[in-house]
Amino acid sequence: MNVAEKPVIAPESLIGQRIQKKDAPEKAAGKTRYIQDMIVPGVLHAKILRSSRVHAKIKSIDTSAAKALPGVHVVLTAADVPDQQPIGVARDHLPLKGERVRSLRDEIAAVAADSEEIAEAALRLIRVEYEDLPIVATPEDAIKPGAPLIHPVPLAADGQPKALPPKTPIAFAGKPDNIAMRFDYTHGDVAQAEAESDVVVEDTFQLHYVTHCCMGVSGVIAEFDASGNLLMYSNTQVPFLHKREFAEYLNIDPSRVRIIQPPIGGGFGSKLDIYPFEVICIFLARAAKRPVKMVFTREEEFLASPTRQPVLLTLRSGCKKDGTLTFRQVHTLHDNGAYTSWGATTPFVMMQTFSSLYRVPACDYHTTVVYTNNPYAGSFRGYGNLQATFAIEQHMDMLAEKIGMDPLNFRIKNAQDAGEVTGQGMSFKSCGFKECLTTAAERSDYRKKHADNLANRDAPGPVKRGIGMASMLHVGGGAKIYPSDGCGTILKLDDFANVTLITGASEIGQGSETVLSQLVCEELGLPISAVTVVNNDTAITPWDVGVHASRTTFIAGNSAIGAARKAKAKILAAAAKKHGCDEAMLDLRGGFVVVAETGEPVVELARLMRNLHFSDKAELVMTTFYYEPPSVHQDKGFKGDVSAAYAWATQVVEVEVDTDTGIVKMTKVTGTHDVGRVLNRLGLEGQIEGGVVMGQGYALTENLIVENGVTRNPNFRDYKLVTAPEIPEMDITFVESMDGEGPQGAKGVGEAPSICIAAAAANAIYNATGVRIFGLPFTPEAVYRALRGKAEKPNWQAWKSA
């Protein structure tokens, strides 16, 4: 179009609009190729033989019949990979187990064959002889004196501990007890604060196993090229960390590892660690000299992918008569399972909630993480915050009731404000907490309904109504856990003013491609359709720490904006030079360079791009930007401003409790989230709604039943995800606190919506029935028992002394 034909262009903003997800049309047409759908020429199919015992010594493994089966290319056991290195945060986990199995998920052998069927047939031909060991089924048992050890220290011939070099990993050096990790945090004087308290409550809470249930099961394809370079097609959420770690395990240069992420069928934190199947697939590819693909069955996904961290938690809280919180003292026992993954480190997040959700002058927090023969816990949306919030927000209601104060007023009195620095050193530069509290309460008519429900508790009829609230604090501006919490962006504009956005940030369905495109287009005055996103290949994309800690919109968003602003500056300077005007007067709108004040077009952007390209200077517009948030690492006492921003939310849950059956129906959720600023309203709503329903599942239906180390319900028939007819009415609103560091003012929100639901539901059930339930989930059976005074109460004293 000719500039002369173009009328003035008014400023338009994409921020806050309902932007359709870029990848949605492909996905809705069934055209998206996930890892399960990928075909690589010459690929072999792999399967893993897992332990049939919970805890046992391996006496012998006979793979001869499996190796002899036609179509079998490689059979591997630990003996075949003497160079295997331990994985996991505590380096206590060898991918293939040769001497001992410590849980039912343990990998003993792996087969690569011409087809999955042949690989499965080969597994059935492998003979393993075990010698059973006593099972450590609970964390309480694990810390009893004389408990069987999960990782015993290996002994030399003389019966003494083997002499090993210092820093030998736990996988080889063992542990003299079952303690995997400890976390101890304190601020203020808890004893003094307790002495000054008018009211003190103490309760023990029990949080159960749940698992991610990504609709796309785990899968990986590994292949080596002729030069020994490794290419992995992987669903990981942390490609750049994996690149480095796989290289370490294989003893090769990290630059020889390339990770490509096909579209991922759900993450939710499950893909944050390296798992044995990935390493084993690499071993198979190395041995077979062929590409090898491994995809889980759903049963395997339930048995061998991580869980949310189960927690036994005792909380002691106090306040004064006027409603001022005085202290919190927390002891938790984390069931680590047999190996250490990210679940063990959930105290990082849990202690933030205890120390800093409300103003509390003294806080004392202790976690002991212990090995058992159970499945091991990983990271899962919320990262310990669901567990912490479940306890805190019940105590907020209980304290309020004890001092006769309205629970909303009690919360408002103790809520954080912008400008506060907490005892843990977190600095709240933007904070819409009080507005979240009041907005959610008003929209749900909390006060009136709370009072009405109380009055109607003894009314006739089995169904009681209840309303309960809970709030949350979570990192919303990344989390400085690794040496860098940054993300890189490369931006290029072509001759037609289309943009290729090359970002380190991964798409796991959450909509990062769309929101990053939106932020770039906001700067460059282009439609979303002008952007192609490249985000899934470590050989192309710049470094990013990964999808976790609700960080992508904030960190990758700021990075994308940085690159776009550099491009914009270059474009405006070129336009100003060519058209003899001041670049400060120019702007980009609707695909044109315009005069900012009048909107009068100066030159079509595509034309300017071609002019630049084909001029005697021959330039392209290509920019790069690396964004590192201004957060700091915590010190040894876990203090420090670990995130560049913090997100807040209040959720009000309404329930109907059938006291005859124990069935709890979640009828409505009113949620108000301080998101900094709404960027893509459609995507944001989707994140919140999905998180609310995931929280509903955690509260009411989902329960991975682990008995004596055996997962009893590894399928969707017996592990109950919420289905469409069960979802509550949802009223979701946003507080825009305009964070100064956030991209266009936004803060992270990915984990937030799941965090409060179980806690608010507990308070709602109490409001309905007068019965407080300290363990999850609120299944009909558990609620029925609790209503009749027969809830199983966890025995805190049994392990407190340990």
Partner: protein, 157 residues
Amino acid sequence: MSLKHDIEFTLNGVTKRLTVDVTMNALDMLRDVVGLTGTKYGCGEGECGACTVRVDGETRNSCLMFAVDLDGRDIVTIEGLAADPKADALRDAFVEHGAVQCGFCTPGMVMQAAHILDTNPDADANAIKRGLEGNLCRCTGYKKIVDAVESACCGGR
């Protein structure tokens, strides 16, 4: 070694002849033999709906059917539906309403939603929720999927 069987069926409007292993399920046949990967494996037990296809006008979990069960029948997969202009409005509704996140459940959802529209064009939100009960989604919380189907119902009126 294993028994084979010849079958003939209509797949997305085209007649298909295949020789299949009698133990093979319809989902594996569609994905691995025919090569149409839009139909997804989610559980293999008929619990999640990711493998939903249309068989003689009714939606079915293809993971619970043997490939030989398809002999003589009329099969439509997401690829067939996506090529049908009548389904454009439904697909557009999924996109417009934000009913897609990771997208893994989406083909099954769209197949089931199309079935709801066919059999109950006046379906209200509750009827749509009942109709989608057999399809699991872990990302969206279902609300936007229900909204999408509801708008397509109304749009068709």
